[in-house]
């Protein structure tokens, strides 16, 4: 009994948080401000960094060349790591194994009210960003972008990352082979993000 009470309390708080966030004039002010930031961030950095450097008596051109030299090597160093992980992911996708995972996991995800259609998005997201986006697009074509499924799928895509790709690229660039708990941590983050995407969409947009 107490458990259900705490659960309802948590849901209520979440609801409030989500609704407050939702009622902030998201669509207009926030987007405009953020777009402004995004559009001007890079030009701003490209102006400020060299000018500040110059003021601080840095030889800007020499420094640039000095740093830039590393670019090629870094990119090339990533290749073996990226080939290893992308080939494994590509084979996995082509084999159709995803369907089995969906079948195994769907009873679990049904418990939190997650529409079965969105499960492939969740499973694909950590493996392949474009693959997951493909599924999201298909779902929205079929159910409409403003359906609950469409909204959950969109939120899922935005709220987690392609963990395997990031780990391969970031560790590859510095030559790290023993990744220790990097993948488990990343996947736990992804899982929480994906579950929260479902929960929040159910709360904010309701069942329709």
């Amino acid at each position: 009994m107490t458990d259900t009470l705490t659960a309802t309390a948590i849901v209520d708080t979440l609801k409030q948080v989500a609704q407050t966030v939702a009622t902030v004039p998201t669509e207009t002010t926030f987007v405009t401000i953020m777009k402004g930031f995004s559009n001007y961030a890079i030009p701003f950095l490209l102006l400020v960094i060299p000018v500040l450097g110059y003021i601080k008596k840095v030889k800007v051109y020499e420094s640039f060349i000095d740093g830039a030299k590393e670019g090629f090597n870094t990119a090339v160093r990533i290749i073996p790591y990226l080939v290893a992980i992308l080939v494994a992911i590509g084979m996995f996708r082509a084999s159709g194994a995803m369907d089995y995972f969906v079948a195994i996991l769907s009873p679990l995800t049904n418990l939190i009210g997650m529409p079965a259609e969105t499960l492939p998005v969740a499973l694909m997201r950590p493996l392949s960003g474009s693959g997951a986006l493909g599924i999201v697009t298909e779902l929205m074509k079929e159910h409409g972008p403003d359906s609950l499924i469409g909204r959950i799928a969109s939120t899922m895509w935005g709220s987690s990352e392609t963990t395997f790709y990031v780990v391969a690229v970031y560790f590859g660039a510095v030559g790290i082979k023993k990744t220790r708990h990097a993948i488990p941590s990343g996947l736990i983050g992804d899982t929480v993000g994906l579950i929260m995407a479902v929960v929040l969409c159910l709360i904010v947009f309701g069942v329709n």
Binding site: E27, S38, P50, I55, V169, I176
Partner: protein, 209 residues
């Protein structure tokens, strides 16, 4: 990583055989290998450019200033890193670029941060706790405007393509907190402690760089 990689390969081949899709699976290996190289090579230009800019920022002391600005949080998240180290500044820039959805700039900045973290690493082939915490921050990255998916929604005629921003921001914040917490908890596991490059006392750490 060993198990995951092996698992993906074995599952793909076994399931591929069961489904009679072995040919597709092998074709995928070839295509994806090629596209991995394309992706890496595609990074060269943008990588070279940002690493150049970052070097100016580093030599001008801008990265150090950034590092100092977030010292309290950084000390808690990355106890292995000396407080004024440029790694902190580079990580901050990467995370901000992620928030703003500047994917092109975020990757080179992140790799620069990894490079700085690696300079503190006594065991060059093993990830440090700080690297893993940084990746956890990064893989669950909060993106304030998920432009890609908004564009798809708009194209498919959504009445309000932006309405998923609030849910996305809250969900990804939870994901980030969970990822970092997981990284912090998992590093306490005995097996992770044993593989920690910093398990040995200070000695070997300082002479790098």
């Amino acid at each position: 990583m060993n198990y995951i990689w092996l698992g993906l390969m074995v599952i793909s081949l076994v399931v591929g055989a069961i489904n009679g899709r072995l040919e597709e699976v092998t074709n995928a290996a070839v295509t994806y290998a090629a596209s991995a190289v394309d992706i890496a090579l595609g990074l060269i230009g943008i990588m070279t450019f940002w690493l150049g800019i970052m070097k100016i920022a580093e030599n001008g002391g801008i990265i150090k200033i950034l590092s100092r600005a977030i010292r309290p949080i950084a000390k808690w998240l990355f106890p292995d890193i000396p407080p004024d180290h440029p790694a902190i500044g580079a990580m901050l820039m990467n995370i901000i670029a992620n928030w703003l959805g500047l994917g092109n700039a975020a990757t080179p900045l992140g790799l620069k941060a990894m490079d700085e973290l690696q300079s503190l690493n006594p065991e060059k082939d093993t990830a440090t706790n700080s690297m893993i915490t940084f990746l956890a921050l990064n893989t669950a990255s909060i993106c304030l405007i998920p432009m890609t998916v908004i564009a798809v929604r708009a194209k498919l005629g959504s009445a309000n393509p932006f309405e998923i921003i609030s849910t996305t921001v809250v969900a990804s914040t939870c994901a980030t907190i969970a990822g970092v917490t997981a990284a912090k908890l998992l590093q306490r596991l005995p097996s992770m402690k044993k593989s920690n490059p910093h398990r040995l006392p200070e000695s070997s750490k300082k002479e790098e760089k």
